[in-house]
């Protein structure tokens, strides 16, 4: 820090202590970064299809992810029908069931949630929220989306090859994933591995953009600590993804070779039908380590953007500054760092050294600390806030409750001794659906209701929205609460049918109940999609900045923002995005680009 700044601080301090505070003249820093050369689309194709505009790419990502997510939803219905009403539906054989389980899991985790949060929201919001005209490498960004689309198409194509898609479970554990007997061990598994590899390569291109745009292309005055928490969440998640996805790529490459070339990276000596297969000495546990070294950060790749977005939604819709902004940023960063040293808690029953389990149980439980801090901060933000029960707020509240629920069961599963009896039961299924299925989805829905006016210029239908919220929220609990109980009585997950097992005497009715609830919740999502499609063209027109938010994306000259985002001049930022209900002035909120001289009497808000 140089002399000049110190002097400024001192004069400033002297001013405020004397009681007659004179606002400093607005100081607009010189633009040291030359304006970005902006790519201009020349035709329909380059504007809407092979677009290099991050906003269009964001929407493309979101639509593709939603489309493939719908397939995942339908697959879950197949599973639920089989579990609730076994031996009723002739089209649901064991192979179809396992294929549904596998594809549902992989689609939802990777192709829906990751792509929607980072590819969809990341692309749309990062440039707008940090005050940039576009991503730093727009061409790469376009390639990233097309790689994702190809990855999705390869994945979908596995439904149409002989043997169908892989049915190895979403974790794809070898050796069973590539041995005959597992559905899809012919072509399905290869297509899955190729698709994942393409996804990783495509994502790396996008991730490069997100990280560098956030680090280097912010507008003037936008320090790291003035960024909305949404950006912090997406940024940290992208860093995690850049470091974690390589593990998936490495695992995919080696398993593809095991399958196609007959190498034995992961394949041990196997005798089948009295004959020895050609493989020797490979280590299936090595695959598990690689997979979960990716798999656990993946949980936070989905959760951190959700944390960030929900913080902003709560702050805007409760008209209150987010409680403990710095603590929120630190929590995001600490959770991100810790997520790399907890992976083996997915492998407690793999026969590892007990001290190894001790270490991973400890790190796992430590993550509860920053996570709990975040939950407290959300609640304290709501405390005495001016809570508007808008749909985004409803979903945010739903998120907090659901996340606490799923988080607390996580504390149990994080302990080796409790995990061992509960491992591979429906308790685990309930836990991870609550914490990384329903909770992030609540945020996604809230975020869509929140930002839809920005993207389309129209509001979503409020009545449909409320129906959507209440059925999804209550329905989610109707589905997953009973699953905890099923887990307690010992019902194992992944089983095609329990037949007359004594486990199931009290579980039959519950399973039917869950299935009915799942079908209802599923159909409600179609209502939501109808709402989006209908409102995009016929919805009620939204005024500018309908939620009275402070962050830059709402303050573009036109809404929806046009190519280049901001008009001739990029905005200059003078404050963080949480100046709601600031004392001392007559306006209720101060957008980020309002200079101190426009609000001379604003007092510093205690945080």
């Amino acid at each position: 820090m140089d002399e000049e700044y110190n002097n400024k601080i001192e004069t400033k301090a002297a001013d405020s202590s004397s009681g007659s505070y004179v606002p400093p003249a607005d100081n607009i820093p010189a633009s040291e970064i030359p304006e970005q050369e902006l790519y201009h689309a020349k035709s329909f194709w380059t504007r809407w299809v092979f677009s290099q505009d991050a906003k269009v790419i964001g929407v493309q990502y979101a639509l593709t992810a939603t489309a493939v997510g719908l397939i995942g939803l339908v697959l879950s219905w197949g599973m639920r029908l089989q579990l609730g009403f076994p031996e009723t539906f002739s089209f649901l054989g064991p192979a179809t069931y396992y294929q549904s389980v596998t594809m549902h899991g992989m689609i939802m985790v990777v192709y829906l949630l990751t792509a929607l949060f980072l590819g969809g929201f990341g692309n749309y919001l990062i440039p707008l929220m940090v005050g940039a005209r576009d991503m730093v490498f727009p061409y790469l960004n376009m390639v990233s989306f097309w790689m994702f689309l190809v990855a999705v198409l390869v994945l979908i194509s596995s439904f149409f090859v002989p043997g169908g898609p892989t049915g190895a479970g979403w974790t794809l554990y070898p050796p069973q994933a590539i041995l005959p007997g597992t559905p899809g061990s012919e072509m399905g598994i290869v297509l899955m591995l190729v698709s994942l590899s393409l996804f990783v390569i495509g994502f790396t291109m996008g991730g490069l953009n997100y990280v560098i745009t956030v680090l280097q292309a912010r507008t003037r005055g936008m320090t790291l600590m003035r960024m909305p928490l949404t950006i912090w969440g997406i940024f940290t998640a992208t860093v995690l993804a850049l470091l974690a996805f390589p593990a998936l790529l490495v695992a995919c490459i080696m398993m593809t070779l095991d399958n196609l070339l007959g190498t034995s990276f992961f394949m041990p000596e196997i005798f089948t039908m009295g004959e020895q297969l050609g493989t020797t000495g490979g280590s299936p546990i090595l695959f598990q380590h690689l997979f979960w070294f990716f798999g656990h950060p993946e949980v936070y790749i989905v959760a951190l953007p959700a944390f960030g977005i929900v913080s902003d939604l709560i702050s805007v819709h409760a008209r209150k500054n987010i409680f403990g902004y710095r603590m929120m940023v630190w929590a995001i960063v600490i959770i991100g760092a810790l997520s790399f040293v907890v992976w083996a808690h997915h492998m407690y029953v793999s026969g590892m050294n007990p001290y190894f389990g001790f270490f991973f149980a400890t790190t796992t439980l430590i993550i509860a600390v920053p996570t709990a801090i975040k939950v407290y901060n959300w609640v304290l933000t709501l405390w005495r806030g001016n809570i508007h029960l808008t749909i985004p707020m409803l979903f945010s509240l739903g998120f907090i409750v659901t996340f606490v629920n799923g988080g607390i069961t996580g504390l149990f599963l994080g302990n080796v001794i409790i995990d061992i009896p509960l491992s591979d039961t429906y308790f685990v299924v309930a836990h991870f659906h609550m914490v990384m299925g329903i909770a992030p989805l609540m945020v996604i829905f809230g975020a869509i209701y929140h930002w839809f006016p920005l993207i389309s210029g129209r509001h979503l239908n409020q009545t449909l929205g409320k129906i959507h919220f209440w059925i999804s929220f209550i329905g989610a609990y109707a589905i997953y609460f009973p699953m905890h109980y099923l887990g307690f009585i010992g019902v194992p997950r992944r089983y095609y049918e329990m037949y007359d097992s004594p486990y199931m005497t009290s579980g039959v009715g519950l399973n039917q109940f869950i299935t009915v609830a799942a079908l209802i919740v599923g159909f409600t999502q179609i209502l939501f999609l109808y709402n989006i499609a209908h409102s995009a063209f016929y919805g009620e027109k939204s005024e500018k900045n309908p939620w009275k938010a402070n962050s830059l994306e709402w303050h573009t000259p036109e809404m929806p923002p046009v190519h280049g985002n901001f008009g001739k001049e990029l905005p200059v930022v003078y404050r963080w995005p949480y100046d709601f209900s600031v004392p001392g002035i007559d306006r209720e909120y101060i957008p980020q680009h309002i200079s101190p001289s426009e609000v001379p009497t604003a007092k510093v808000e205690k945080t």
């Binding site: 607005d26 490498f137 680090l215 190498t263 490979g282 940023v329 101190p596």
Partner: protein, 211 residues
């Protein structure tokens, strides 16, 4: 120009709501680090690649402990390839220096030599593959073989990716239609990437020699 080397931890302990911090923050120009976007991009790519190769090295070390591991004997051709790669890196460094001194005619020739040597390296690696295949050392025979093929292939793919950018820079330079500071930077970034791949090769080759 202001200093931008404040550590990340210092940055995230700022209190953006305080008036004294606000004065500093209003001066902020929007960059976190004092490097260009392209350079940061190359660095990020190198970090991601490092993670990929590290995970392979870890897998290699884990897998070689199992009894069925039979080490490969490295042919002398691999040593020649290594020398070629070292030479490429040295010449790329020289190219960068030439470009910095605005000697663009010499830079052109130097870039061509780099490209030629890199193709020679890739051809050399393919010859090594052919050598092993002729000996019947297929990937499925032994995990050591499998790792050899995978690691060389991955390293080769990285080099091919680099050659794509090398080709872009070279055509820009030969068309005489370029921005001088940009082309200097592009050449520098390519050189950094080549040095990175040389280091990766040292580690991979060293690992295979040592085991």
């Amino acid at each position: 120009m202001k200093k931008k080397k404040e550590s990340f931890f210092k940055l995230i302990s700022q209190k953006p709501w305080e008036a004294s911090q606000a004065i500093l923050d209003n001066e902020h120009d929007g960059k976190t680090l004092a490097v260009s976007k392209a350079k940061l991009g190359v660095r990020t790519i190198m970090v991601v690649s490092t993670v990929i190769f590290s995970l392979f090295v870890v897998s290699y070390s884990d897998r070689m402990l199992i009894h069925d591991w039979r080490s490969l004997s490295e042919p002398w051709l691999l040593w020649i390839n290594t020398v070629i790669l070292i030479l490429t890196s040295v010449i790329f460094h020289r190219t960068k220096v030439l470009a910095e001194n605005n000697k663009f005619e010499k830079t052109k020739n130097s870039l061509l030599v780099v490209g030629f040597l890199t193709f020679a390296f890739i051809t050399g690696q393919l010859l090594v593959w052919q050598h092993f295949v002729n000996l019947g050392q297929y990937a499925s025979i032994n995990p050591a073989n499998a790792f050899f093929y995978v690691l060389t292939a991955l390293h080769g793919l990285h080099i091919l990716g680099g050659l794509y950018f090398w080709a872009k820079v070279t055509t820009q330079l030969f068309k005489d239609n370029y921005n001088i500071s940009k082309i200097k930077q592009n050449i520098e970034l390519c050189a950094i990437y080549w040095h990175f791949l040389l280091i990766v090769w040292f580690i991979l080759f060293g690992l295979m020699l040592a085991t």
